[in-house]
C-alpha cells in the first residue's frame, strides 16, 4: 500500500491545489515586491505592481529571474528577510562556475525538510528504517536536506556524508542501513565496490535509494537497482529553491511529483521565454510560494524536461516532471547537434558497459570532435582483436543512432576514469571558442 507523509496535501484534488497556489502566489509576489528591491525594480520595468497579479493566470506577465540575476545580486540582494530572521545559508557546488548562496528562516528550513520527508516516505521509509545519508554535508544541500527529512520521518539517521567508500559499506552492513541517499554516480561507485568485495544483492541490507543532484538515465537506474537489489528513486531540487525535495519519485517511478503547495512549475521555450502547453519539452521554471528568506519568482532552472498532470497510480495529485533530459548547462552542442551526456550513458549501459565514462570534446581544424572514453570490463573483453574491434564499432554505431553524429570510442583500462564521491565530472570540453 502506498504510504504518504502528508496524505491530505499530497493527494489533494488538483482544483484545491490551484486555489491554495493562487492564494499563496499573491502573498509571495507582494512579499517580493515589498522586501526585495531587486525584484521590485524588475516588475517596475514591466509596469507591473502586485495588484496586476490576481491568480496564476497572470503569472506569465511577471519577469523571469535567472542565474545571472542571482550572481548580480550576490550575496544579499535577493534576500526577503533581515539577517536577524535568517538561520542558515546553503550554497551551490559551483558545477557551472557560478556560486549561488541561498538563505533560510526557521520556517524555510521546516518546509524544505518536510518535502524531503515526503520523498523518504514515498520511497518506503518509516521510523523503522535506518537512513544513510551519503550526500556531502556542509554548504551543499544534499546532506542537510535529507538529514532533516529523515529526522521528521523518525528514521535512524546515519550522517555519513560522502567519501571513504569502504567505511560507507561497513556502515551499511554493520548498521543494516535500509535506505541510502547520495548522488547516482556515487551510488554506482558504492555498488561497484560492493561487487568487488564479493557482495551480492542478498548480502546488502538496503531496500531503497534516493539519488539526485545530477541527471541520470533510466538505464543507470536499472543498473544500480540490479547491483544492489534495491529500488532506486530519483529526487530533484536546486539550492536556489531550497535543495533536494522540490520533486521526488513515488513507487510508480514514472516522473517526480513536484510539491505544488510550495512551488508553481512552468515549462517555457528557452529561446523565446514563451510558456509551452502541457507535455512539451522545455525549460523548467519555478515560482516559490511559501518562502520567507529567499522568495524566487519565475526562476529559470536551465533544466530540460516535460510536465504531466495525468493521474498517477500512487494517488498523489501533484504534477509530475520527467527525469531531466539534462541541465541545459550540461548540453553540448557538437557540430550543431544537441548532445546530453545522459544519452551517451544510455547507449553504454544498454551494451553492457559500466556507467563510468568520460566525454572529451575538442575542436580540430574547425570541426568538433567527440571522444567517449569507456572502461574495458572482464565481460566485454576477449582474446580476439577483431571481436574487440567489433564491440567498439557497435558502440560507435549505437552512439551514432542515438545522437545522430559520429563519435570516437576509446576503450581504456579499468579504473582509469576518476570516480566521483559527489557530482561526476562527465564532460571535458577542450574547445577554445
Amino acid at each position: 500500500m502506498e504510504r504518504y507523509y502528508q496524505q491530505e496535501i499530497e493527494c489533494m484534488p488538483h482544483e484545491k491545489i490551484k486555489e491554495l497556489q493562487n492564494e499563496r502566489l499573491l502573498k509571495q509576489v507582494r512579499h517580493a515586491w515589498e522586501n526585495v528591491p531587486y525584484y521590485r525594480a524588475k516588475m517596475q520595468e514591466k509596469n507591473l505592481t502586485p495588484d496586476d497579479i490576481k491568480s496564476q493566470d497572470d503569472l506569465h506577465k511577471l519577469p523571469f529571474l535567472t542565474k545571472d540575476d542571482l550572481r548580480k545580486a550576490y550575496p544579499y540582494g535577493l534576500m526577503g528577510k533581515p539577517v536577524k530572521d535568517c538561520v542558515r545559508i546553503q550554497s551551490t557546488s559551483g558545477t557551472t562556475g557560478q556560486r549561488v548562496v541561498a538563505f533560510y528562516t526557521q520556517h524555510d528550513l521546516h518546509i524544505w525538510e518536510t518535502m524531503c520527508a515526503r520523498a523518504i516516505v514515498a520511497a518506503g521509509g518509516t521510523n523503522e528504517d535506518v537512513v544513510q545519508v551519503s550526500y556531502g554535508y556542509g554548504l551543499f544541500t544534499g546532506g542537510p536536506g535529507l538529514n532533516g527529512g529523515s529526522h521528521l520521518v523518525g528514521s535512524l539517521t546515519i550522517p555519513a556524508s560522502s567519501g571513504n567508500t569502504d567505511r560507507q559499506i561497513m556502515f551499511i552492513k554493520d548498521l543494516s542501513a535500509t535506505i541510502l541517499c547520495c548522488t547516482p554516480s556515487y551510488a554506482a561507485f558504492i555498488g561497484e565496490r560492493m561487487k568487488e568485495m564479493g557482495m551480492t544483492p542478498d548480502d546488502i541490507p538496503l531496500k531503497a535509494g534516493i539519488f539526485g543532484a545530477e541527471a541520470w538515465s533510466e538505464s543507470m537506474r536499472q543498473d544500480i537497482q540490479k547491483t544492489m537489489g534495491i529500488k532506486a528513486y530519483d529526487i530533484y531540487g536546486l539550492t536556489e529553491l531550497c535543495g533536494p525535495g522540490v520533486s521526488f519519485e513515488c513507487s510508480d517511478q514514472h516522473g517526480m511529483h513536484i510539491n505544488e503547495d510550495y512551488f508553481i512549475a512552468e515549462i517555457i521555450d528557452p529561446k523565446t521565454g514563451e510558456v509551452l502547453p502541457e507535455g512539451s519539452l522545455g525549460e523548467l521554471v519555478f515560482t516559490t510560494l511559501d518562502k520567507e528568506a529567499f522568495p524566487l519568482i519565475r526562476y529559470r532552472t536551465r533544466d530540460i524536461c516535460t510536465l504531466t498532470y495525468e493521474p498517477c497510480p500512487c494517488g498523489r495529485t501533484h504534477v509530475r516532471m520527467t527525469k531531466l533530459k539534462g541541465r541545459s548547462d550540461d548540453m553540448l552542442i557538437i557540430r550543431g547537434v544537441n548532445v546530453f551526456p545522459s544519452q551517451i550513458e544510455t547507449v553504454l549501459i544498454n551494451q553492457g558497459y559500466p556507467a563510468n565514462y568520460q566525454i572529451i570534446v575538442d575542436r580540430v581544424n574547425n570541426t568538433d570532435t567527440l571522444d567517449v572514453r569507456v572502461e574495458m570490463t572482464p565481460e566485454m573483453f576477449t582474446d580476439n582483436l577483431g571481436e574487440v574491434n567489433k564491440r567498439q564499432a557497435k558502440l560507435v554505431e549505437g552512439l551514432r543512432s542515438m545522437l545522430g553524429l559520429t563519435a570516437k570510442v576509446t576503450l581504456v583500462a579499468p579504473k582509469t576514469i576518476v570516480r566521483s564521491e559527489g557530482k561526476a565530472v562527465r564532460v571535458i570540453d577542450n574547445r577554445k571558442i
Binding site: M376, F381, D383, L411, V412, A413, K415
Partner: protein, 144 residues
Amino acid sequence: MSVKQISVFLENKPGCLHEMTKVLADAKIDLRGLSLAETSEFGIVRLIVDDVLGTATVLKDAGFVSSLTDVIAVEVLNVPGGLNKVLEILHGEKINIEYMYAILGNKTSETAYMIFRVNDNSKATSALNNSGIKIMEQAEISAL
C-alpha cells in the same frame, strides 16, 4: 588437449606493457611465450606462462582486465618446412587459424613450439595427432 592462454587488455601508451611485466616479475611468473596484437589505442597481450592461476590472480589484483582462452601448443620440427607441414594438415581439415605465434623452444632446439588459436580445437587436435604431430600439454609447457 589444450593449454590456457591469458589475454590482457592494455592501453597503447608508454609504460602500460612495462606496468604489466612488472606485476608478473614481482610475482615470479615465468613467461613461456608472448604475442601482442595492437591497434593505435589499445592492445591485447597473449601470454603462455608456467603458472596460469597465479598469473590470473596477480593480474586481477593489480586491476588488469584479462581472460583465459584454450589454445593448442604444437611441437614443430626445427627444420625448413616444419611449420608448413603443420599448416598443411590444418588446411586439409579446413580449420581456420585466428592467430598463431611461436614460443620458446627447448634447450636442444631440435623442436620449436607454436601456439594456435583455431575455430575448432578438438578437430585440429585430432587431425594433428593422427598425422603424428606432437601436441603439448599444460604441464609440459610449464616444464619447458
